[in-house]
């Protein structure tokens, strides 16, 4: 059985808020949610924090052993279900969650307390285990089918969505909540990323401009936090219940560089792009927009442009590209899901969110960047979202208008 799979619900807890339409509006305006972060004894960083009122979702008693990464996952998944108006979650439904680190706050607190007194909070393990977000969503939504977690660094939630779509297409499940969650804006985790020398330095400039994908003067990535979920179901089922269809998930491609743990490889990315196009039955000319991985690292942006140029060939100039990380930062394990949601909204609205803060473009990054806010694209029929991970795994999701 192969069924067409569509997105009927979007749920977000993001640096630009938790209302998909308003999040997309803010991105179209080019508004950055990135701000300066400081902590005693540490160099400053630029981060994109997601405002979240936990009391809307949990009582204090329910919060015992529930890390922030699970809290925002529960909220975003429920928002996606509600957005879809889907009432029938049961043992024929599945939950597919990507997360890079799991419960970072629980780990940070446990290690700090251990160093200080040797005493560690008793719920540290259930709080930080990476499959906790998926389990909490399942308990809240009463989903008794497959409840799975994918930890593949920056490709975690893109792979989770790809796997969920395959399960829906094959008839293994009738409905999937698929997405990701990441909440690691705690001192220990930020310090670890600083030590890796990959973060943008906020310097003395305006921190909201710290993330500059594809720019000649880019200095690295900006960590963000948030959760994003899509509700996926078969096209026929969505039509039968009169659901609003945002877009079709036309196909996906996954590959591994198998060359280096952290250095990306164009050949590996090309394999994912080609396989995603083949799976969706589209040719490069059919795709009008690419929500790029574009983390704004020196090496990563160049390699992604090389991969796109190899697949698109002479038509590369017709592919509009933007990295919305310039505004919401890098949500790591949740990045693929948030950017998939943005790509779906771009198709639904016929509009392209900009690649902000790119003054002079790096000549080694020869792609057609969406530089201006409020760029309309009424002819847009199909779009892709790239997620390329540490560890070498590449995931490409292809979405198509469904009308």
């Amino acid at each position: 059985m192969t069924r067409r799979v569509v997105v009927t619900g979007i749920g977000l807890v993001s640096p630009h808020g938790d209302t998909p339409g308003a999040v997309f509006d803010a991105l179209m305006e080019g508004r950055s949610a990135i701000a300066r972060w400081t902590s005693a004894g540490m160099p400053p960083a630029a981060v994109a924090r997601a405002a979240f009122d936990v009391s809307r979702w949990f009582t204090r008693l329910q919060l015992a052993g529930v890390d922030r990464v699970s809290q925002i996952a529960v909220a975003a998944a429920e928002l996606a279900r509600a957005d879809a108006g889907f009432e029938g979650l049961d043992d024929r439904s599945g939950i597919y969650v990507g997360t890079g680190m799991g419960g970072a706050a629980a780990i940070d607190e446990a290690f700090a307390r251990y160093a200080e007194s040797g005493r560690v909070p008793p719920l540290t393990v259930p709080a930080f285990m990476p499959n906790a977000p998926a389990a909490h969503i399942a308990m809240r939504a009463k989903v008794h089918g497959p409840v799975l977690t994918y930890s593949i660094a920056c490709a975690s939630s893109a792979v989770a969505i790809a796997e969920a779509a395959k399960a829906v297409a094959a008839g293994d499940v009738e409905c999937a909540l698929a997405g990701g969650s990441e909440a690691l804006l705690v001192p220990g985790a930020i310090r670890a990323w600083q030590a890796l020398q990959t973060l943008a330095s906020p310097g003395s400039e305006d921190p909201s401009r710290a993330c500059r994908p594809f720019a000649a003067d880019r200095t690295g990535l900006v960590l963000g936090e948030g959760a994003a979920f899509l509700l996926l179901e078969p096209l026929d089922a969505a039509k039968a219940r009169g659901a609003r269809v945002y877009a079709e998930l036309a196909g996906s491609g996954v590959s591994c560089d198998a060359t280096h743990l952290t250095k990306p490889d164009a050949a590996g990315q090309v394999r994912a792009l080609v396989s995603a196009l083949r799976a969706s039955g589209l040719s490069p000319a059919d795709v009008g927009y690419c929500n790029a991985h574009g983390t704004a690292t020196r090496a990563g942006d160049v390699v992604e442009c090389e991969a796109l140029a190899q697949v698109w060939g002479d038509a590369i100039g017709d592919l509009a590209v933007s990295s919305t990380k310039s505004m919401h930062g890098h949500l790591l394990g949740a990045a693929g899901a948030l950017e998939a949601a943005i790509t779906v909204l771009a198709l639904e609205r016929g509009a392209l969110p900009p690649n902000m803060h790119c003054g002079p473009q790096d000549p080694a990054c020869r792609v057609s960047l969406v530089q201006q806010p409020h760029t309309e694209a009424p002819q847009l029929r199909a779009a892709i979202s790239n997620s390329f991970a540490f560890g070498g795994t590449n995931a490409v999701l292809v979405f198509r208008r469904c009308d």
Partner: protein
């Protein structure tokens, strides 16, 4: 403040449960505490009262029992 009253305030602070609803002799499960939240409460008690609860503590499941245990642990042993 009595240990029992202090314990009620700690539960209020930890779980936002109204202290006036807490009864000394009712099982803690009645207030919605499960094995996980109970573990968190016992850790908070150890921190707050600066005591080490014995491993057999799970047998103590009422506030009065807990308060008694804390008092016993805090009383210096006679030489």
């Amino acid at each position: 403040m009595s240990t029992l009253e202090e314990l009620k305030q700690l539960i209020h602070k930890t779980f936002d449960i109204d202290p006036t609803t807490l009864k000394a002799d009712a099982p803690l499960e009645e207030y919605g505490l499960d094995s996980l939240s109970l573990a968190e409460l016992l850790f908070a008690i150890e921190e707050h009262f600066n005591v080490d609860l014995p491993d057999t503590r799970s047998s103590v499941n009422t506030l009065a029992g807990l308060a008694q245990l804390i008092d016993d642990l805090r009383t210096p042993k006679a030489a």
